[in-house]
């Protein structure tokens, strides 16, 4: 059994009624974002808090594997794309000029649309002088809502073949404001637009990394991104004893708080492989996540 760093006291934590939004992100994929997000959600629920989990990794959502929610509601998500009335169209070409995404082009006075490239800005229908363009919804995915053991659950599932995931992430997050209690947002990997969409608006970002050169490189990128968004952050090192000390050295130099180190434990990996939460399969991990919840709280109150 790996040693516990720090101890968890049973005292009541005063963020019982917290409305905080915590985003879990990583830069590098596969470092344990979903492990941390789902185990933290479960731990908070067991502490008696209201928790909602949002899976914003809509390209590959995996939180449901661990939380096993009962889905109660499913909404199709569409974005408005242009439909051209050829009777009215004069082929003036203004729509093609305003579109930045080549989703509508005019060749020899004929209009062609490429709905999969459209981002739904509505510019074409606004600019059309003869009102020949209307907007129709095109499905890009679904948002599912349900309930797991003490946890409210939302996830977005991107339709396979869709290029743009940000509008779907936006939809998943729409329920954030109406949910009571702590909100856990599981973000996709990387540092570009879908991650930003998932993370922005959070009160705190937890960056999960591993102590390897790849983990460190991608952590630096993720830290840059979160700082750009001006959100407080903390780091969790997963499989903390597999690599080198460079991540710790970096965090220290940058004044980044290291909130938790999870050891490399084959039993955790095996529980993960079976789709089980670490805190359920290996109850000795519960205090680790209690401690993480308290560390975030402390970090925010400073």
């Amino acid at each position: 059994m790996p040693c516990l760093r720090g101890s968890y006291d049973q005292g009541q934590v005063d963020w019982l009624n917290s409305q905080m939004k915590i985003a879990i992100a990583s830069g590098k994929g596969g470092t344990g974002k979903t492990t941390v997000a789902t185990n933290l959600a479960q731990t908070l629920a067991e502490e008696g808090r209201k928790v909602t989990y949002f899976d914003c990794d809509v390209e590959e959502p995996n939180g449901h594997i661990f939380l096993q929610p009962k889905i109660e509601r499913k909404d199709s998500v569409g974005i408005p794309v242009p439909q051209v009335d050829m009777e009215k169209c004069t082929g003036c070409g203004l729509c093609g000029q305003i579109c930045q995404y080549s989703a509508i082009v005019v060749i020899n006075k004929k209009v062609l649309t490429f709905p999969e490239l459209c981002n739904g800005c509505g510019g074409c229908s606004l600019v059309c002088p003869v009102e020949a363009i209307s907007e129709v919804p095109r499905q890009i995915g679904v948002v599912e809502e349900g309930r797991a053991d003490g946890i409210r659950f939302f996830q977005g599932i991107l339709r396979v073949g869709e290029v743009r995931s940000t509008p779907l992430i936006r939809q998943v997050k729409r329920s954030l404001s109406s949910c009571d209690g702590i909100k856990i947002v599981d973000a996709p990997p990387g540092t570009s637009c879908p991650v930003i969409e998932a993370v922005k608006g959070a009160d705190f970002v937890l960056l999960v990394t591993e102590p390897t050169p790849f983990g460190l490189n991608d952590l630096k990128l993720a830290v840059g991104m979160v700082r750009e968004l001006k959100i407080p952050l903390g780091v969790v090192i997963n499989r903390a004893d597999v690599g080198d000390d460079e991540v710790k050295v970096y965090c220290q130099a940058e004044g980044i708080e290291l909130l938790l180190e999870i050891p490399d434990d084959r039993r955790v990996a095996e529980a993960y492989s079976r789709g089980e939460l670490a805190v359920n399969a290996l109850p000795e991990y519960l205090p680790w996540f209690h401690r993480l919840s308290r560390s975030i709280e402390k970090s925010l109150s400073q």
């Binding site: 994929g29 594997i65 396979v160 290029v163 690599g243």
Partner: protein
Amino acid sequence: MKELVVISGKGGTGKTSIVASFSTLSQRKVLADCDVDAADLWLILEPRILRRESFSGGRRAQIIEKKCTACGKCQEVCRFDAISFDGSANSLVKRTYRIDPIDCEGCGVCAYFCPDGAIDFQEQINGEWFISETRNGPMVHAKLGIAEENSGKLVSLVRKEAKHLAEEKGLDLVIIDGSPGIGCPVIASVTGADLVLVVTEPTLSGQHDLERVAKLTAHFGIPTVVCINKYDLNPEVSATIEARTEEAGLKVVGKVIYDPAVTKAQIMRASVVEYTGGKVAEDIKSLWRHTVYALG
């Protein structure tokens, strides 16, 4: 000339470690790191940059404060809630509009409809791309700026440059390190490729994500083969993945054993096959031979 793309669906399954080993095992090829969001291949191959170019992924709107008359048209037409009425005063009004650069999607609708020409809509530099030399051959790679957009466009650019380079040098293969997921950068890295190798792991998440990414490559009609990395971590899930992969008409071309030497190699800035001759290296060599065979 052929293009082999290594992707994974789920992140962290070992894509880049496998591509690094392929770079050691293969001859006559160009490497392309298309995981432009979180590019890591360079950490192993330590490229010497020969050429460096900036990348523009699109435009971004910005209010020219001194011209803004606070009419509010820009906010009215913006669908992305990127415009707020909290800019500083100018000689005309007490408050101006302001565009949040992170929320702005670069559609330009505000700039088009601004009656005072008070919105600037310029090309942005969103990143850089490089042509480099490495100990394992030429490499094209890129760096997307932090919090930047349009990684798909940068991926397409890296692929195009890698192909050019291969043609120029008379090389027969481009090996592409892709990104996780199934969205924009992944689609840009696989469309029109000759073969996709999906690296997965024996976990329910790995299996779930493999199924989604295999649907994606089927959707685009790209020949696809599968590798199960760390297969001994959960032999049961491994067997299920193998069975379901074959049911789907795809082939598992390799299984690679879990070995801490993979992490150690990374720390030593070496590919796994450079670092060790153990079973893990043998597994990767066999994977490479079968992948080449599948490539035809």
